[in-house]
């Protein structure tokens, strides 16, 4: 099986290790991974801020970059949701691009989604002794309807004790530019999220979107809290997957 990795701008720049871990896990299942160098960003920052002309420019580039890929895997529920939900609509007045947008949307998978639904992984052999909880990112759970998938994967990791996160459906306060634009409101949201994480007693917070994790992790660090923040792929890879 061949897939292309869509690294996302955040992981590319800030969290390359997540990308490496995704590659590692995929390869461990015999998947051939490539990385089209012409990929940039999905355009969501511009789209959500109302700059749809600019978002279309980003989107065209991404569509072109993955034109020859049979499947695209990305370690972000949010970026996958952008492609799947908003790309076709973004080109509603350009039939040719719309068609190409739909084609990309149809072959794009979030990381856990790909493992569970395409690879149908049933035998995670990782071992990761930790006490952890999971943050359901909004765009992944609401946008893509993916809630059980990462939990299913993490549930198979040996010695990983998962706690339910109270108010797990509430946003962490990231929201892209929202975190900077309305930082005072965002602060209250992330603080409530951290309070809820702390009630679980978890040492590790696992998630599927580096945007959320950058927000929660950045706030945790600012507050001097010790909770470690990890992407699902990092847990699987560090746990010595296979």
């Amino acid at each position: 099986m061949k897939v292309s990795l869509f690294i996302t701008c955040l992981a590319d720049v800030f969290y390359p290790k997540v990308g490496m871990n995704v590659v590692e896990v995929l390869r461990s299942y015999g998947v051939e991974v490539d990385f089209p160098q012409d990929q940039t960003c999905c355009g969501q920052p511009a789209f959500n801020s109302g700059y749809h002309k600019e978002a279309r420019e980003s989107a065209r580039q991404l569509i072109k970059a993955f034109a020859d890929s049979p499947m695209v895997v990305t370690p972000s529920g949010s970026c996958a949701s952008m492609i799947r939900h908003y790309y076709p609509d973004l080109f509603k007045d350009e039939p040719e691009w719309k068609e190409r947008a739909i084609e990309l949307a149809d072959k794009t998978y979030e990381f856990s989604e790909f493992l569970v639904h395409v690879l149908k992984v049933e035998d995670i052999e990782a071992k990761f002794p930790a006490h952890a909880t999971y943050h359901h990112s909004c765009h992944m759970s609401r946008g893509l309807g993916l809630k059980g998938e990462p939990i299913k994967l993490l549930g198979q990791v040996e010695d990983l004790e998962m706690e339910d996160l109270p108010y797990c459906n509430d946003c962490c306060g990231f929201g892209g530019t929202f975190a900077a634009k309305m930082s005072d409101i965002s602060e209250k949201m992330v603080d409530e999220k951290i309070k809820n994480i702390e009630t679980t007693g978890a040492d590790v917070l696992i998630g599927s979107d580096m945007g959320c994790l950058m927000n929660i992790g950045g706030r945790l660090r600012r507050l001097g809290k010790e909770v470690r923040v990890m992407h699902v792929a990092e847990v699987l890879a560090e746990g010595g997957q296979k």
Binding site: C9, G19, S58, I185, G218
Partner: protein, 471 residues
């Protein structure tokens, strides 16, 4: 649309600093959203309900002229009076006109958001008429001289201690802070007001076109008192609050109460079909229906049309993480929460309501909860798009996204930017962390640390090491 002395940021700061809100908002939200979720689970197939409710609302709005015509024809046939108010001023003129003609001394009101839109209380009071709100929550905020902070729980920002103080002042004696004693006092006090009132003003949850009826939903029974005891009843209706027949009423009422509080039905659902009939000896002798546009028609035929499907249940407020922290008043308009952030700029214009569409993390909880499937967070993005296209966003932001568009559509430029990110931001970083950033970044680092971009980006790693390792 509403007189608010503070600008948006100041309103938010005020709300965030309010210890009472901090306690009351999560409590209220948790109760109400929990109720809604339980109700949905009991139904089992809530998505089918939402779908049908949404279809009914969309069909009705798409044929609004026809159904309104049918409604008013029937209201008149039943002996009621109909008034069309294109603007808030028209509505005020109509209602104050009726009050003058009736020589009214006092008016009782049951909860009506439309009446908040036109500030009818103030206009009636200016004429020397006593206006009393009868919904307990509305009565509380009337005594406090405030506005509702939630669609269905208008006084959630008030503590029992504050209520006790205000009620004691009215009572002229010290009341305890027991809910039962406070509500008993309200019952007694408001009952006197009802029995004296010349006019009752209600809202309209739904009008039924086929029979010319106005349907009111309430738990307290004040809507029934308002529409039964005084000799004159005026119902104020937003022009979109209508269903074709009683059969469609079933679905919207079922969704309204389940989504608002989780009740399968409210205590009172009252259909007012006409003024009292010849054999009756209670009920108002006169019935007036005031149908208000006030900017709503400008939403028709636009990308925002679905916003008119709203049935005012407040579910979007109850799940909104932003509302959870800032409450209703920070939004500044009559309608708060996600639906307020969508509607208020449509009814009041961007000049005054520029920031509201940004008061959302776009988490989508609102759209998911909406019983009539309004894509609320998508409509907020639509607003942002319109603001951009109208040139209302800051110059620096425009330039930033212009650059973003260019870089992301030119891979070589993008790659260079990624390559330079680590060293370029190096002067800001200490131990791989940025704690104080300039410009837009400052908003981020005011609250949280930002990692320094990695020394080696993923794409560089791929070129050097990653690529070759396939199989």
């Amino acid at each position: 649309m509403s007189a608010h002395p503070l600008i948006f940021n100041e309103r938010v700061d005020k709300a965030l600093a309010d210890p009472i809100l901090k306690k009351a908002l999560p409590l209220t939200q948790d109760r109400l959203r929990g109720g809604r979720i339980n109700a949905a689970e009991q139904l089992g197939n809530v998505e089918e309900w939402r779908e049908l409710a949404s279809q009914i609302r969309s069909h009705t709005i798409a044929n609004l002229d026809s159904y309104l015509e049918e409604l008013v024809t029937n209201v008149r046939k039943n002996g009621g009076h109909v008034h069309f108010a294109a603007t808030s001023d028209d509505a005020v003129e109509i209602i104050t006109g009726i009050a003058k003609e009736k020589n009214a001394k006092s008016v009782v009101k049951s909860k009506s958001m439309v009446s908040e839109e036109v500030h009818i209380n103030k206009h009636l009071e200016d004429m020397g008429i006593k206006v009393v709100e009868s919904d307990l929550g509305e009565y509380i905020i009337q005594l406090a001289n405030e506005t509702p902070s939630h669609l269905i729980a208008p006084a959630i920002h008030k503590t029992r201690e504050q209520v006790r103080e205000m009620f004691s002042k009215v009572a002229g004696r010290q009341l305890s802070d027991e809910t039962t004693e406070l509500t008993a006092f309200a019952r007694e006090k408001l009952r006197q007001e009802f029995l004296q009132a010349d006019i009752g003003i209600s809202g309209c949850n739904f009008a039924v076109a086929e029979s010319g009826s106005v349907v009111l939903v309430s738990n307290e029974g004040n809507a029934r008192l308002t529409t039964t005891v005084p000799k004159v009843h005026i119902a104020m209706m937003g022009m979109e609050r209508i269903v074709p027949t009683w059969n469609e009423l079933d679905m919207v009422v079922s969704m309204l109460t389940r989504s608002a509080t989780g009740q399968k039905i409210s205590v009172y659902v009252t259909g007012i079909n006409s003024p009292r009939q010849s054999e009756d000896s209670d009920g108002p002798e006169e019935f007036h229906l005031v149908i208000l546009d006030n900017g709503r028609s400008n939403i028709l035929g636009t990308a925002y049309q679905e916003a008119l499907n709203c049935i005012r249940c407040g579910a979007c407020l109850n799940v909104c993480p932003v509302y959870r922290h800032i409450g209703g008043h920070a939004y500044g308009g009559v309608y708060s929460g996600p639906i307020g952030a969508v509607l208020t700029p449509l009814l009041g214009g961007y000049e005054e309501w520029l920031e509201l569409p940004y008061a959302s993390s776009l988490c989508g909880a609102c759209s998911e909860a909406c019983p009539v499937k309004i894509p609320l967070h998508d409509l907020l993005i639509e607003h942002r798009k319109d603001e951009v296209e109208m040139g209302l966003t800051p110059f620096s932001e425009k330039m930033a996204f212009k650059g973003f568009g260019f870089a992301t559509s030119h891979p070589s430029v993008y790659e260079t930017a990624v390559k330079l990110a680590h060293s370029g931001m190096g002067f800001l970083a200490k131990d791989g962390v940025i704690s104080k950033g300039p410009g837009m970044l400052g908003g981020w680092t005011d609250v949280r640390d930002l990692p320094q971009p990695a020394k080696q980006s993923f794409r560089e790693w791929w070129k050097k090491e990653g690529k070759g390792r396939n199989q």
